[in-house]
């Protein structure tokens, strides 16, 4: 059996494997498949449950959040200073956040890689060196350009507005095959069309003998004589979700792939320390701007995400189309009571577009009284200015496309009825604490560096402090990348896994 549902386990369990991986998302799946294909015994421990595409494909958005997302989709980064509270979405299921992404595939921009390989000294992370890894992942997840015919009217309107303003828009690539435009990628694809890792990577890993224990909360990495030797934790209870039946796994390699929110926590619980662990986290703070048109838009007809603009990338802003199921949009409409419901009745006339900030690393994850992290984030003045400029630009696009009203993500704000009314966003912006912001890409909380004082892991992915302990997820990215991070995370995991296999005998000798 490839997936064990830990909730059904009644007695303590032990296992001994070559490699134990904590986390089954975009990075964990890649390295599990690589190691299994190479003949290594691999066990992956996933805190979340296991749902097949047929099971999660029929979940309503609220059910999807409760079952597939951390904190039922209610996790937040607490803003320090003049910073918004940022809703932070992360997956917690076999397949991790890949179940909940819009599927967008971007390579890490070359100028970012140039900075990594020169300024930061990470010489193996040049565009040329990473090109074969990018290509391999892109083929494995079926990265394809979203045809213009799949654009929703919602996206078309913003593209029309952008064109009038001289802002070029391009089609995005996504990891899809046979997309039918259900426009609910972020709640689990109902048509098996999104190539999340449960579809693109895990079947191959399982075929080569990899196993997954779901509902398995890893509580610490066991370290002996400066070397990782295994992990221990408890299966979550079927009724309460609380940790119950214990398990222990001995392994030659311990690979942490819990994502940027949880990997630092596990390392801290396991005795690692240092000024970089859990710090410098970037979030790509995002915002969405909605617009009401006189015409019927039916934005739910089409690909959820299909176009983007990097025209303002030099100012740290990327625009990406986005839509959500009507029930989710209804929750985002301003107002209370009848005023709120009157706007919801116009949801078929609504167009939506999003933007994100290429931010400085102002985030931290800390341990506290819960097994979930305390996420803190301080937005810099530069990023705040970018945030408001991005919102204003999207608002202008909407009016240029003929929108009658623009809805900004500002608590308590009425709709805006003219472009001039948006001037305040750059001339006299409100407190950022009144902004509704989202994050889908926490990165960099255990960053890679060429020296121990500069980060948490070596360029090989192995931690500086403990031998045979690797981190392979988005937490190793040394800076924000300014674009959707799924391909970046999978590519880094592939690169690290190839290095691990190349030097396997050296690492294994330590474990002997």
């Amino acid at each position: 059996m490839s997936v064990l549902r830990g909730r059904e386990v009644g007695a303590p369990m032990r296992a001994q494997v070559d490699a134990v991986i904590i986390g089954s998302g975009a990075s964990g799946a890649v390295i599990a498949r690589e190691l299994a294909r190479d003949g290594r015994s691999v066990l992956t421990l996933e805190e979340g449950g296991y749902y097949t595409p047929e099971e999660y494909g029929v979940l309503a958005p609220s059910q999807s959040l409760r079952r597939l997302a951390r904190e039922a989709g209610l996790a937040v980064a607490v803003g320090l200073g003049d910073t918004p509270l940022i809703s932070t979405l992360a997956g917690r299921a076999v397949g991790g956040s890949s179940l909940l992404t819009g599927g967008i595939i971007f390579r890490i921009p070359e100028e970012i890689l140039h900075g990594w390989s020169t300024t930061l000294g990470l010489h193996d992370l040049t565009p040329d060196a990473l090109d074969p890894f990018f290509t391999e992942i892109e083929e494995a997840v079926h990265a394809e350009l979203v045809p213009e015919a799949m654009r929703s009217r919602s996206t078309e309107l913003f593209v029309e507005g952008a064109t009038k303003l001289g802002i070029p828009m391009k089609s995005v690539r996504r990891n899809t095959s046979g997309c039918r435009g259900a426009s609910r990628c972020t709640f689990g694809c109902p048509n098996r069309a999104k190539m999340s890792v449960d579809i693109s990577f895990w079947p191959d890993a399982w075929k080569h003998g990899a196993e997954v224990w779901a509902d398995a909360l890893v509580e610490r990495v066991d370290v002996a004589s400066g070397r990782a030797v295994g992990v221990r934790g408890r299966f979550l209870d079927q009724e309460t979700g609380e940790p119950r039946v214990p398990f222990e796994v001995s392994a030659k390699m311990v690979i942490v792939a819990c994502g940027a929110l949880h990997s630092p926590l596990l390392l801290l619980r396991s005795g690692l320390a240092g000024p970089n662990l859990g710090r410098h986290m970037t979030l790509h703070p995002s915002f969405r701007v909605c617009a009401l048109f006189d015409e019927r838009v039916d934005g739910w007809d089409g690909a959820m995400q299909s176009a983007y603009s990097d025209a303002m990338m030099d100012q740290g802003i990327t625009f990406v189309s986005a839509y959500n199921p009507p029930s989710v949009l209804a929750a985002a409409f301003p107002g209370v009571g009848k005023a709120h419901r009157r706007l919801i009745e116009r949801v078929s006339q609504l167009a939506v577009f999003g933007g994100m900030i290429h931010d400085d690393g102002g985030g931290q994850v800390r341990r506290w009284i819960s097994r979930e992290p305390l996420i803190l984030y301080r937005m810099t003045a530069r990023d705040r200015a970018r945030f408001f400029l991005g919102m204003q630009t999207l608002g202008k696009m909407a009016f240029a496309a003929g929108a009658k009203e623009v809805l900004l993500p500002i608590f308590g704000a009425d709709t805006f009825k003219s472009e001039a009314e948006l001037d305040f966003l750059t001339s006299n912006p409100p407190s950022a604490k009144r902004i509704e912001s989202l994050s889908f890409h926490p990165l960099g909380s255990a960053k890679m560096s060429v020296s121990e004082d500069g980060g948490v892991v070596k360029p090989s992915g192995e931690t500086w402090q403990v031998d045979n302990l690797f981190v392979v997820d988005g937490s190793v990215l040394p800076t924000s990348i300014g674009v959707n991070s799924q391909l970046a995370i999978m590519t880094m995991a592939l690169k690290i896994s190839r290095g691990l296999l190349r030097d396997w005998s050296r690492y294994a000798r330590r474990a002997a």
């Binding site: 958005p61 039922a72 209610l74 007809d301 209370v336 009571g337 709120h340 078929s348 097994r371 608590f411």
Partner: protein, 127 residues
């Protein structure tokens, strides 16, 4: 308290029936149960704050659930527009958890124009 908030958010000319109010409570429980203890505690704290806030927000010596429905709606509106950032956060948190499931009902979706299974894009691809 959940019933009182739901009534403030969703009561039209016709009052919400008991089954629907109970469904709101179940939905909130569905969000809170899988959340961590700290998040649950935070949400409970918000609820408790909301219960006693009429004294500050409305100047009325009553708990939120004792207010008439229209006054509750007015209070949530005031909090939503408040410059004191915790106030709108409380409103948004419960509005989100109550609104998403409320508009997952097929009938309500059709009422706001969402065609459900009769969606054009699906049919285009099928044929």
């Amino acid at each position: 308290m959940i019933r009182a908030i739901a009534e403030a958010l969703f009561t039209d000319d016709v009052p919400l029936d008991d089954a629907m109010l109970e469904a709101f409570v179940t939905n909130i429980d569905g969000f809170m149960s899988p959340a961590s203890k700290t998040l649950r505690a935070g949400l409970m704290l918000m609820l408790e704050a909301l219960r006693w806030l009429p004294i500050i927000v409305m100047g009325k010596p009553a708990t939120f659930d004792d207010l008439p429905i229209a006054a509750r709606t007015e209070m949530l509106e005031r909090m939503d527009r408040s410059r004191f950032s915790p106030f709108p956060l409380i409103v948004v948190a419960f509005k989100t958890m109550l609104t998403i499931p409320y508009y997952e009902d097929d009938e309500r979706l059709r009422a706001i124009g969402y065609p459900g299974e009769a969606r054009k894009r699906y049919l285009t691809v099928k044929t």
